[in-house]
């Protein structure tokens, strides 16, 4: 399964004051807060960690169809500047982040083996569908094949990814 999350860094700077009292404490573990404190660009680190949690949440929501706002249950570990693992209960979700200008885009997958099957945008001849829980799919209009997808929109940016296994 797959999940993604986009943050428009320029909009986030205006829209979210993560420096307000109590904010980081509600969504980030002490270890994650340390990563933010030590980062050369703390804003980028806040949104990288946040987007990793959101991307993993989308995979779990797809599986469970349950909507729970529990960011502290998602623990992010970095393995390099723009990649790592989100731990949720006994499961681990690898993620990768790409920053292009002020667009920060994170993709998480349920299995690292699936990275080669990730398609980073909607192709011509494909349509985006959503089921009753709002879970998205990509459908090939000619062939009728259906794949799991994830869509994220923030500010100027919108990213659609799919998993073509």
């Amino acid at each position: 399964m797959i999940g993604n999350d986009v943050v428009d860094l320029q909009l986030a700077a205006v829209e979210s004051n993560w420096r307000r009292k109590g904010y980081l404490h509600k969504i980030f573990s002490p270890e994650e807060q340390l990563l933010i404190g030590q980062a050369t660009d703390p804003d980028r680190m806040v949104w990288l960690l946040w987007s990793a949690k959101e991307a993993a949440y989308k995979i779990i929501h797809r599986d469970t169809r349950q909507r729970i706002y529990a960011p502290l249950q998602y623990r992010v570990q970095l393995s390099g500047a723009d990649a790592g693992m989100v731990q949720y209960q006994d499961r681990q979700y690898p993620f990768r982040t790409v920053v292009t200008g002020s667009c920060l885009h994170t993709i998480a997958v349920a299995l690292a083996d699936w990275w080669p099957q990730v398609v980073y945008c909607q192709q011509p001849g494909e349509e985006l569908l959503k089921d009753e829980a709002g879970v998205p799919f990509i459908r090939d209009k000619a062939g009728g094949e259906v794949w799991p997808a994830s869509v994220s929109h923030h500010g100027h940016y919108r990213e659609t990814v799919s998993l073509k296994t």
């Binding site: 943050v7 986030a12 829209e15 979210s16 004051n17 993560w18 307000r20 009292k21 109590g22 904010y23 509600k26 969504i27 946040w50 959101e54 909507r67 729970i68 706002y69 529990a70 960011p71 502290l72 709002g134 923030h154």
Partner: protein
Amino acid sequence: MDKTALMATIKEVVAPYTKNPEALATLNEDTDFLRDLKINSANLVDVVLDVEEKFNIVIDNDSMEKMINVRSAMEVVENKLAAP
């Protein structure tokens, strides 16, 4: 605090983060913060913090998990005010 006053205060708290003014105008117990009001999930933390400040309560993580619509936000506040 009666339900009408509670809902009015919740409405006041979510207003600055709401991206869908029509859904805010018709806010009711079923209004979903994310799907209806289009509040950014990163701003849901601000809603929780503002609710804490407004009612002088502490919202623990278990309660925060549920705060995705007006009904559950009202329940969380009522429970905290009843048993601080």
